[in-house]
């Protein structure tokens, strides 16, 4: 068994045991939030870290997932499972259509286009009031049921979201260690050269974009069923930027960066709520923002490639992002 599989299984075990050890619903809800973000960042890491394409618009897919499932399940009474899948299909379709012209753009133009896409979708959430409820928000989203089992409390929802996260991490990992993954990385390495070995760059960019959109969409759908109320404000450009922060602080060069980045982002802001008042009594939220900003800057100055890269460096396990180690191959060299 590959070493990387071992890590994944250990991680899965940790996830499984956590609620048995810790009983705080608040902590679980934090982990659930981390789960949503990890799912989004998982797709985004594939897009950014592996294919080297930036997106400032993934909050849009998160929102599309949330609103689709909300609309279908609450307004039309669909089963949430079906409506989540419908959301994913719609997101995939939109990603495909939008991706075709968008990925003709490069670098900053791509950033701009994805930002613009996010703004347009946000505006739709805001303006199509008959479906979305506009700025007033959409409430009464039902919770998810599996037979008689309702994912209504935090512990149950926790298992649901983290199962999905794990599956998607596994999927991503499989992608990375395959011809598709190499094709994606080759795009970041040199578009000219990947073209020259016969890689249809556009097609792979689109595939990974669609994949990341599906991840974001499912995360958004689950989020909607979890909080049961959504509002366009929760899907604005700032959220896309938060996703970006998570991916970069986690480290875009590893799929684990997605989980680590989201954890750091959520835990840091929660922790600051606890710690800042101890240092400055009577301090308001502004201090948390200041500290958050300072920590973010300091962290990135000392760990410019994110936490996973820094971790690998510390433990000396840094091998390249490659899959194949000479040891595992019984010494291929000469």
């Amino acid at each position: 068994m590959h070493e990387r599989r071992l890590g994944t299984w250990l991680f899965a075990l940790g996830i499984l045991l956590f609620p048995l050890i810790v009983h705080s619903n608040y902590l679980l809800s934090i982990l659930i939030m981390i789960g949503f973000y990890s799912l989004v960042c998982n797709g985004l890491t594939m897009l950014m870290g592996y294919a080297g394409q930036i997106s400032l618009g993934h909050a849009a897919f998160y929102g599309i997932g949330a609103y689709t499932t909300a609309y279908l399940s609450a307004t039309h009474g669909w089963s949430p499972w079906l409506s989540i899948i419908a959301g994913a299909v719609i997101s995939a379709f939109i990603a495909f259509i939008v991706g075709i012209p968008t990925f003709k753009l490069k670098g900053h133009y791509l950033a701009l286009a994805t930002l613009g896409f996010g703004v347009i979708v946000y505006t739709c959430f805001k303006e199509f009031t008959s479906i979305t409820g506009g700025m007033n928000g959409f409430f009464g989203i039902p919770s998810i049921k599996l037979f008689a089992w309702e994912f209504s409390n935090d512990a149950r929802f926790y298992y649901l979201i983290w199962t999905v996260v794990l599956l998607s991490l596994l999927f991503s990992q499989n992608i990375i260690h395959s011809r598709v993954g190499r094709a994606l990385r080759s795009i970041e390495g040199s578009e000219a050269a990947s073209d020259a070995v016969g890689i249809d760059i556009m097609r792979y960019k689109l595939q990974v974009f669609v994949y990341s959109a599906i991840c974001a969409s499912i995360a958004g759908s689950l989020y909607a069923h979890y909080v049961t109320f959504i509002n366009p404000q929760a899907f604005d450009a700032m959220l896309s930027i938060y996703f970006l922060i998570m991916v970069i602080t986690g480290g875009a060069s590893s799929i684990w960066g997605a989980v680590i980045g989201s954890s750091v982002f959520v835990l840091l802001s929660e922790l600051l709520k606890e710690v800042v008042p101890l240092v400055f009594s009577n301090a308001g939220g502004e201090f948390e923002i200041v500290f958050f900003g300072v920590l973010l800057v300091v962290m990135l100055i000392y760990m410019p490639n994110g936490l996973t890269a820094a971790w690998k460096k510390i433990t000396g396990k840094w091998r390249t992002s490659t899959t194949l180690s000479p040891a595992a191959k019984g010494g291929g060299g000469r």
Partner: protein, 261 residues
């Protein structure tokens, strides 16, 4: 002038303009199967531009390129590569974010089948294919002589080895034709001697080469046929002997009293 053999690549009346600059001007020639053809000429003659047109990176202003009987003018680079034509680059384009062997495995992309979904679900056929490709990549590395570096990060290789890596990547695609842009540049004599051997060996295995090179010793030593460009125009074509006797070529490129070898 008449060569025997089966034509693999035909370049017909290719012209390329960049604004006012005519980089390639009405150039035509054929490449036969199993041949080593050199394109030479002064700096800025249009050699790299010609390569870029043949491999689809640039669209010609006019003219056609035919490969293996199909018209590939205006096709995308990856489509052309999928038809069996790969290349190396004058300014090196290795995938610096991968290991050496992954670079080569990426080269084999066109002969693999795994789709996005299959890869994600890691169906059994994927595993099998991966294994086969890895072995193939290793063989390619052995051919160019850098198999011992297989698990290094590509960007840490010295310049010369990066050139060899590009060639290994190009042959991993099992192409019919390989284009090499100044393969010897920056190599020391020993390394370029090794590279010559590699090329000749591969030719024996049935590959066809077109290459650009300023190192006249190499050009004269290994090419079957030479095309000379100057200022975008083809000013001469023929066997090394013919080229060496061609006054225009000598004046434009080789220099009067230069003695080769």
């Amino acid at each position: 002038m008449k060569r025997n053999g089966q034509v693999l690549l035909t370049v017909e009346h290719i012209t390329k303009q960049f604004g006012g600059v005519v980089a390639v001007n009405d150039v035509s020639f054929d490449v036969n199967k199993g041949e080593i053809l050199a394109v030479i000429g002064p700096n800025g003659a249009g050699k790299t531009t010609l390569f870029n047109i043949v491999t689809g990176i640039l669209a010609p202003s006019s003219g056609t390129v035919r490969f293996n009987g199909t018209d590939i003018t205006g096709k995308k680079p990856y489509q052309i590569a999928q038809l069996g034509m790969t290349r190396t680059f004058q300014n090196l384009e290795v995938f610096t974010n991968m290991s050496v062997i992954e670079n080569v495995m990426t080269g084999a992309h066109r002969n693999m089948k795994t789709s996005f979904l299959q890869a994600g679900l890691r169906v059994p056929s994927v595993k099998k294919e991966e294994k086969a490709v890895e072995e193939k990549a290793m063989r390619c590395l052995e051919k160019v002589g850098i198999a011992h570096l297989a698990y290094e990060r590509a960007e840490t290789l010295p310049y010369g080895n990066q050139r060899l890596l590009e060639i290994a990547r190009a042959i991993a695609a099992e192409p019919a034709l390989i284009l090499l842009d100044e393969p010897m540049a920056g190599l020391n004599d020993e390394e370029s001697r090794w590279l010559v051997e590699v090329i000749l060996q591969l030719r024996k295995e049935g590959l066809t080469f077109v290459f650009v090179e300023h190192d006249m010793e190499t050009v004269m030593a290994i090419s079957d046929h030479i095309v000379v460009l100057d200022n975008g125009v083809k000013i001469g074509e023929g066997t090394p002997e013919e080229i060496y006797r061609n006054k225009a070529v000598v004046a434009a490129y080789l220099g009067e009293e230069e003695t080769v070898c």
